[in-house]
Homo-oligomer: 215 residues x 2
Amino acid sequence: MAESAKALETSARILDAAEKLFVEHGFHATSMRLITQAAGVNIAAVNYYFGSKDGLFKAVFERRAEPFSQLMLAHLEEAERANPVPSALQIVHAFTNAALQMGNEPDYGGQLFVKLLARTFVEPHPALKESMPRRYGEVSRRYIAALGRAMPHLSELELHWRFHFLSSALFNAFAGNNVLRLFMAQPIVNARDPELVARMLLPFVVAGLNAPSAG
Amino acid sequence: MAESAKALETSARILDAAEKLFVEHGFHATSMRLITQAAGVNIAAVNYYFGSKDGLFKAVFERRAEPFSQLMLAHLEEAERANPVPSALQIVHAFTNAALQMGNEPDYGGQLFVKLLARTFVEPHPALKESMPRRYGEVSRRYIAALGRAMPHLSELELHWRFHFLSSALFNAFAGNNVLRLFMAQPIVNARDPELVARMLLPFVVAGLNAPSAG
DNA sequence: GTACTTTTCAAACATGTGTTTGAAATTGTG
DNA sequence: CACAATTTCAAACACATGTTTGAAAAGTAC
């Protein structure tokens, strides 16, 4: 039962390298040899510690998933303590602050997890099908409920749509997926600076949330 | 120089199958054998007609890129004929109508191209680095300019940000990237119906565009 | 019908993939 | 120290990958 410091360090190094490479190139385009080489460990170490490449991906995800969900909840609860019925702006702030804090604290893996989430939206991985809703189901419901109190003119269904658009916008923005870079040779927006993204995005999504019903 | 009907049919079948599979599984997770099997052609046919897998991807993209950019331009120009200074709503309508029309006309490949675009935002392919800005640079500038006339209170930089958020939201929405499906077991939003998506999305993005400056 | 080009095809190519093996090295324990 | 469990490692495994080959088939032109 000896979990030596060295062993912990090895699996952590693998997780760090894999996280970075999965974000950069995606799951399929990242080979085991690339990961283990970047981590400076033997190629067999991944299977030794995580069973398989799929197991590694799941482990990479789960290391950040719980802290981030707790961060999201904590910021929402803080907003609700300050104001029993927080405004759309305050709710979005809770969301973005969670993402920004995740990016700032090195222990949470920088911006990487948010980027990984954004990637996973368009490239879902079977290994997450079960664990993610279990972790984020309640968080999502809490945010949607808060949005419902802030915008009572919207139906339950439309609230879900708004939350859908909100998350999509936030994660894509923070992930730095620069749509314009595909469309224009030299886009003048700098989608890499999270603080700037948050400042630019805020008025957009808050106004979107407060918009009248589609009817 | 004989371009027989059979040859045209073969390359078209490859393009159709590849387009569908690239959208479904992404570039790296789609093998040549899967493509050629789905198209009912020999595996060597891809290299014969398109040189390589990368060449095929580029060809898949370029078949739809020009029609879609022309559709986007045509709808914007139509809006500007009806009203010299179209509102944000009318500009977004031009955008969404182009996407919807692309989805409805079978000759344009259904919704597939929009989905492919959305995928390519997070998983850029080197083969498109040059051709896309050449095709969509002017279209983007025209839309941004139109947005600038509709919202004169925004700076050039902030206009680019708004257009960035707008395109991101539109493409992700139409691509059916269901963020909520990763977060909740049974999301009640149906992100697969383009008409419904457009109706739900419209008030959100229009209000977002019209929002006051971030200052 | 013959000569030529274009297209198809099965087979093989070299290389990359995730994974397993079994022994060596290291670490923890009595 | 000696014994056992844990961790590392080079090598090999079986298989999948994109690509190429060279001959057979189909099509075109005179």
